[in-house]
Amino acid sequence: MEEELKQIVGAAKINVGAVSNRADFEAFKAGITGPNGSLTKVVKGMGQVAKEDRPTFGKLINEAKQQVQAIYDIALEAIEAAEIAERLGPPIDPSLPSPDSEPGSLHPLTQVREEISRIFKQIGFTVAEGTEVETEYYCFDALNTPKDHPARDLQDTFYLPDDADFGNVSKNSDERYLLRTHTSSVQIRTMLKGEAPIRIISPGRCFRRDTVDATHSANFNQVEGLYVDKNVTVRDLKAILDYFFEQLLGKGTTTRFRPHFFPYTEPSFEVDFSSSHLAKLGSDWVEIAGCGMVEPEVFASVGYDPELYSGFAFGMGIERIAMIIYGIDDIRYFYQNDHRFLKQFA
């Protein structure tokens, strides 16, 4: 009996070497401890053993069982390790690139727009939106633009056909639809809808009937700002724009106002900046924006009392700012969408 058990364990130790997968293992296990297994047979033979010998044999059988179980455990561990290794495959080459697409990218115009929005949000300006199709009233009349102002000419502004009918662009009376030439129309609609204090910026796409070249585009993006409250001063306007341009273009950026003329502001200014950070530009003054105090006629057209309220408005081209801060020399890059351009700003 004892010899038999030794043989069984010995055979198991040898045979386990041939076990390489779970099926082999189950067969191997069945051959020893299965219903007809060699060890099971010995256990079943216990009945014929003399009563007084049983404790000794029982002990021997238990020892054999433990030894077999240990063999099982080692074999199983090896099989599981092999299975995992097979599932995982060979070790990776960590230097290989990901086969997935390259990172995506946000268009530089979007980035500049978002940066401008972020800076203005710091000082309480929120983003207002309007439609690209507008009407002559909101684009010109309400902004104190004379009836025969050249900006209204068919050569300069895109119009929709006379019978055009827009479901979600409201008219003041029976004026014409057009493609907005600036986002000032958003200021008018915001003032009509809300009440002072108002502090908004309105970024968006605008249209002028220009021929495309290095500095002109069939459409372009602008951001305008409007601040209406009691006692808003010229100095406040300067302070806000100084703050903005220093945030945008870096510390040490200075601005200067030059007198100018816009129908919707009085007084009106053009804004130049000078920044040592933008080496390409040197120390010259560079034109960057237009601004001014809201013209009383504009307040009158939206029903605000010009005696009570004052305010300022400003506007600038997003393409122009992007060209300045990134050093881009041709506006057409923005609309070509060559990935070698786009990914530089990712």
Binding site: G167, N168, R205, A218, R235, E266, D338
Partner: protein, 813 residues
Amino acid sequence: MKISLNWLKHYIDLPESPKEIADSLTLLGFEVDDMESTGLPQLENVIVGEVLGRQQHPNADKLGVCRVALGDAIGEKTIVCGASNYKVGDRVPVAIPGAVLPGGFTIKRSKLRGVESDGMMCSGKEIGAGEDAAGLLILDGRPELGTPINAVLTESDTVFNLEVTPNRPDCLSHLGIARELAARYQRELSYPAVDNLSAPGDRPSGEEIFKSVSVECEEDCPLYRATVIKGVKIGPSPAWMQDLLSAIGLRPINNVVDVTNYVLHECGNPLHAFDARDIKGSKIMVRNAREDEKVVTLDDEERTLSSRMVVIADDERALAVAGVMGGQNSEVKEDTKDLVLEAAYFNPTTTRWVSKTLGLSSDSSYRFERGVDPSSLRFATDRAVQLILETAGGTVCGPEHVAGSEPMVKKEVELSTDWVRVKAGFEISDEEIRDSLERLDMVISEESDGDWLVNIPSYRGDLDRPIDLLEEVLRIYGTDKIPSGAVVATATRENDNPITEFSRRATNYLVGQHFNEVVNYTLRSKAEQQSWSDSVSRMALGLKNPISEDQSQLRHSLLPGILESLRLNQSRKTGASRFFELGRVFHEVKGKVVEMISVAFAEYSLGRPRSWKLREADDFFTVKNRATLLAGFAGIDIGRFKVSQIVDDSTAWQEGQAALIDDPRAGILAEFGLMNLERIKALDIEGDIVAGSFSILPERLKTAKRVQFQPFSLFPPTAKDLALVVDQSELANDVVRSIEKIAQKATEGAFAMESIYVFDIYEGEGLPAGKKSVAVSMVFRSTERTLKDKEVNTAFEKIQNVIREKTAFEIRD
């Protein structure tokens, strides 16, 4: 507008350099776009010298050694010279040591091939006077020895090209600009004196030449003056006048025409001279043109007029288009003897309309359109008469022919200096305010305690209100000196617009999914839009006045632009495979066009064209998922809307491989799937493109509402599966929705069906042709207890019974 520095100097001292003057003009509000200098630059140590004698250079065949006289102060010097075009006794420009010639060449005392030279005799090119470099510049007229060359060659000038804003027609002349500079520099402005003319009453009668003027349309022409000059002799105008006119780009014609042009650019008043012979009936009438009346203007074009236009006419015909251009029939010719000189004030609006309608713009119309100062007509007339008499001779005749009267332009504005300070937001003293206004020729006629009454000069049509004066005060004070201050930022209680928020979330998602954002033009070609789909081709998206066919329609979708970006990047081999755009599109719903906010994306279904490891292809369900997420950012659960296969109508999408959700009531439109294979091939794009777009009416985007927490069950669920045999064309979602309804009813009041989803679709062996099996899993759960098998089974039985009785679905065992 072109302004000559020499011309400005007729009216004001300007010792500043042209660059400084340009900066001053810019800060006054007249932006100088560019400036061009002609003639000699300012040169130090270049003076007139005379060649006294020449000897051959001992060491160089081509050089001469000259004795040169340079005037008493310097005496005689030896100069080595390589030129050969001069002779003894010639006077030439000599650069003596210390001179810096154009290009930075500095003259020093030096040895040339062993011979000392005390300077250099110069060619025209070397001193910047023309292009002649062949020999020395021989000076005519034997100028004084030692005279600085700038005093001899005085024909230099700088021309500023500057922008005059539309509110400042008073600055469309040299006097106007000089007036501004006088205000800035606080210098005397000297107007040309015209007091040497005879008084109108003392002039001989010109009745035999010209009789009268009359105005029929007073609104279009409030004031008209005609002056007769007889016996002029037409010839070229003097050189000084020709030089000034040429400098600002005008071609000298003859003395009379040049004078009218000169006066226009001097004081801003357009004038016109008629040949008196050609005025039939010797009378001028300002009247509306007759419908289809013809006149040949000075530019040789026959113009057909309409009755809203205004002409200067004699008894028989139109002689000029009022304020715009004269007619050929009465122009000043070589043999003209007697003139009628017109000075008038034409209505700006009329002039602009006429000029625009005729497509004819002139220096005159440009000024009338913006508004000339009517009270300066008399000065302009006198100035022109004076110059004509000076340059063409003749006699000015009486009486003066005047129709209409000078409009009253005396203006006064009340101004409070405290108000100025409040609006400016910084301290600016009464004295500074007064100084600014007075420098601009305004007069404070009354004042008490900082409340002023300010008289406005007649030429400042733009100044009517205190706010207008604020601008003038700041302009003279210096807008570059406006101080900065602390940013005042009170709360406004507003959020960014929902469109902005949606755009940010959508773009962030797509960039995170490796998409590159592109920006395409809004205007697309009609041909492209029409080829997109039948429904798009019927939409009214065209412009009234497109610039070209290529850009004649509002875009209905962002996808055509994105496909172009794909193609460009493929042909340029940039390797990029995913693109998206976010922007506005236009769509027609029930006869009305609407503007929608749209986001669209397109990608190669196989990703990168070559890769060391293949990924599973992106397919319809990839883009459906993307579109669903994008709609979710707009607060739209796309699953709630009817989705249909895109069929026949479209050449944009591949039939049977793309889907559409179009719900005009909810204001949404979504499309996604495989792009039409032939279209993609026709666009020269290799590879399959899957794409999607989601558009929504901007007014349907709302600021996200705060979510309310919903409690959920802590008890375990029970799931039941059911396979249904349905028609192949049946949409799986429709099957799910009908089972859902049945199940909800069957469990009503007892417990809830928490979810239902498709877990298997099968067609083929074991099923009849034209049928498919849709297997759904239903999950039941109660919020109050663990469900018993029995109650779930009862409900499941009930559901199956209803399906058998009420639907066309067959339950598969």
